[in-house]
Amino acid sequence: MPPWLRRFNIYGDFWRRYLALGVRYCPWFLEPVIIPAFTAFFYLLCAGQRRAVQGNLRALFPQDNLWSIHRRAYAVFLNFAWVLTDSAHQRSGDDVIDWEVAGQERLSQLGQLPGAAMIFTAHMGSYDLAAPLFVEKLQRRLHTVRAPERMAETQEFATQDQPAGNRIDDQFVVHYNTPGSMLAVELTKVLQAGEVLAVQGDRVMFDVSPMPVPFSQDYDWRLPKGPCVLAAVARCPIYPIFVMRVGWRRYRIEARPEFRWEDASPNRRDAQRDVEVWWSRCLRDVIETHWDQWFVFEPAFEKRALRDGGPPAK
């Protein structure tokens, strides 16, 4: 495929640039007409992602019929489109997002902690959107981990125009999970330096190792192993914090109860298992409530029968 044509690929920079242009000049009364229409377009176009979301929803709602699964999957796509649009507004300098904070005390606690801490989160809302708020609330440097964009042009667009040297830039550090980047070593150093590290522990991408965790009678879900291994090594406080879209240009930061190391096993391997079980419960609770904004476009579950090579457990 010629390079110019690749830019129109769903991972290409064309759509990001088009969105950026749209949010700058599209009249406010046409924006909510265009976004759902575009969502429908991408819903039809992105067959792989659609099937993955439908598969994930089928694991969450096994009783649903085909129509309900389609309706729910479209809702996921639509929420994702609104999050991208809101992020593009923020990027273009429009201050249009209202924020609610839940779990204020836990956030203050995290801000005042003397040493390292980890934040476990999921692919919901947008950490880019929430970055200025986190910086304001925590008053300490926050490191996040992100998978790089699949295309160089998109990555370049995503990182360009970021104002350098401002407070957010200094306090919000993004580490890219690129092959051969020695990310684990880098992140261990971050925690050794006593800083806060936020990781998204719900999506297995590229060469990330999965850990199968039982989800239901028929399904195991595939969560990334890395965050739990890192947590078990560092044994630092872990806070589950989620960013959710709760309405029109309105988001919520929700800090849930932290993992208690006092109750965990002293053995590293067992402690890792304790973190895995705790995190899968936390995540399950959130995605069952906010299934329409769980932006995981890869299969997150695997049928137990497929893995074991036998019939599903009864």
Binding site: L21, G22, R24, Y25, C26, P27, W28, F29, L30, P32, V33, I34, P36, A37, F41, D94, D95, V96, I97, D98, W99, E100, V101, A102, G103, Q104, P132, L133, E136, V246, G247, W248, R249, R250, R252, E254
Partner: protein, 176 residues
């Protein structure tokens, strides 16, 4: 972003249309028990207004473009009519997109080369006016050529534009 306040002190978000001011009494959205504090944006919009404008604009543009696109359907052979019906959502999508893109190309791009380039809000307002003009032209066309459905849709559009204009003069308490 404005300073953080307790969530129960949240003020209602303003509306952009005079009509919404008349029909939607100012109220804060319902809060969930978990949220404790609130950080309002500089530029806010009432969610109910955003919702009703989205619904109205989606339904109206879809129907109006349908009237325009299916004009003369009675004379079409069945296969052609079927093709037109299938293409309707695509034409609607392209029309709405095309309107915005054409306005950007014809208004925004030339303006960005002038001294107005820094006046983002003025350019945005001009874009809004241009898109409303295009939709008014569509409403006029379907009123004259679209049969009774077109007349009804056109009248609904003009009634809304007229009501919005008049509502600008009314006091919010008039209709509440």
């Amino acid at each position: 972003m404005k300073p953080e306040i307790p969530i129960h002190e949240e003020s209602p978000a303003p509306t952009r249309l005079a009509l919404s001011r008349l029909f939607f009494p100012q109220k804060t959205p319902p809060h969930t028990s978990e949220a404790e504090s609130f950080l309002p944006a500089e530029s806010r919009q009432d969610a109910r207004e955003a919702r009703w404008v989205a619904r109205f604009m989606s339904v109206w543009t879809f129907a109006a473009i349908g009237v325009w696109w299916l004009h003369g359907a009675r004379q079409m052979p069945v296969w052609q009519l079927l093709l037109h019906l299938i293409a309707w959502p695509v034409v609607w999508f392209l029309f709405v997109q095309g309107t915005v893109m054409a306005c950007i190309t014809l208004i925004v791009v030339p303006l960005l080369r002038t001294s107005l380039a820094e006046e983002q809000e003025k350019i945005k307002s001009l874009m809004q006016v241009a898109c409303v003009v295009v939709l008014c032209l569509l409403a006029t066309w379907i009123m004259t050529n679209g049969g009774w459905i077109g007349k009804g849709l056109g009248l609904a559009w003009w009634a809304l534009i007229g009501a919005e204009f008049l509502a600008g003069f009314a006091r919010p308490s008039t209709l509440q």
